[in-house]
């Protein structure tokens, strides 16, 4: 099976996902008590950078099946926005606020973008 040369979207996406999951685990391990936010912000920033790098690398790829990517990605995005929203809701229900809420929300946004990129890329690369 001959495959086109594509940027390592799955590998970078997995790393981005691992970092953002680590940020959420770190926050969850401290909440509802005081959380030093530095490590969570660092993990979030690294994960967001990897996500952005992934999208930029993909945007520069010639002949990529963008129609298929968008077709699959938008439905996956809808599903993962709902899932991230439910996780946000349970933290809001328990009075998470201030800095931890902002970092958590940003982490969930990165999560809700990273997974659809991974799904849509895996489908579109074989189109």
């Amino acid at each position: 099976m001959s495959e086109r040369r594509l940027p390592p979207v799955t590998q970078l996406g997995m790393l981005s996902l691992a970092l953002i999951v680590a940020a959420v685990i770190y926050l969850s391990a401290h909440l509802p008590e005081h959380v030093p936010l530095g490590p969570a912000i660092a993990l979030l920033a690294l994960s967001a950078l990897l996500l952005a790098g992934n999208v930029i690398a993909l945007a520069r790829t010639e002949g990529f099946a963008w129609n298929r990517f968008i077709e699959v990605g938008r439905w996956a995005l809808l599903a993962y926005v709902i899932i991230a929203g439910l996780i946000e809701y349970v933290f809001l229900r328990n009075n998470t606020s201030g800095g931890p809420l902002i970092v958590l929300t940003a982490s969930l946004v990165v999560f809700a973008l990273t997974v659809p990129v991974l799904i849509a890329f895996t489908v579109a690369r074989y189109d």
Partner: protein, 187 residues
């Protein structure tokens, strides 16, 4: 080889998913012990059993099936997995967090807090494997099978990825069982 018709996301299952999500939202809002315990146990049991069964029982069976049988089985099983797994995982995690808050298990002063954090880590590793490899492979296999002329090599490669990652998450589920029974016995 005839290709069975199927929907990648079975629309008939969407109202059931919506109902389960609604029940979850209400249970979290009400914050009573029993509904939270029920949702966490049912969601967790579904997640664990499916992972173990798929990874260690169905996976090897699918691998030994003839190609037409494998295609027919896959087109019937995998669309259901698209709805069942994300729903089971979301219900387990959201109800589990609310349950832990209700019982005070997520406080750092809780005497088994280390076990709670261990469960977050195991779930985190499973989430990365499932969301990064398993779920994309599931959707990609189904999309490939929907094409007028599916590429058997692509399907084979993605199915292998699906089965191996299901096995890996199945192994991690054993760790979840150890942690949860520790909490059940000694909390």
């Amino acid at each position: 080889m005839t290709k069975p018709d199927f929907q990648i996301v079975p629309r008939a299952g969407l109202p059931i998913v919506a109902f389960v999500v609604l029940v979850l939202v209400v249970a979290i809002a009400v914050n009573d012990l029993w509904p939270l315990m029920f949702l966490h146990v049912v969601g967790g049991a579904t997640w664990t059993i499916v992972d173990l069964f798929l990874g260690f029982v169905l996976g090897p069976i699918i691998g030994k099936m003839s190609i037409p049988a494998r295609v027919e089985f896959t087109t019937r099983l995998m669309p259901k997995m698209v709805l069942i797994m994300p729903t089971a995982v979301t219900v387990t995690l959201a109800a589990g967090w609310q349950l832990a808050t209700h019982l005070g298990y997520n406080l750092t002063t809780f005497h088994m807090h280390g076990w709670i954090v261990a469960s977050y880590i195991v779930v985190g590793v499973m989430a990365v494997i499932a969301l990064g490899l398993l779920e994309p492979a599931n959707i990609a296999v189904l999309t490939e099978m929907k094409k007028p002329q599916p590429n058997p090599e692509v399907i084979e490669k993605l199915m292998k990825r699906f089965i191996y990652t299901a096995g890996a998450t199945g192994l991690l589920q054993v760790a979840t069982l150890v942690i949860m029974t520790q909490l059940g016995a000694f909390a």
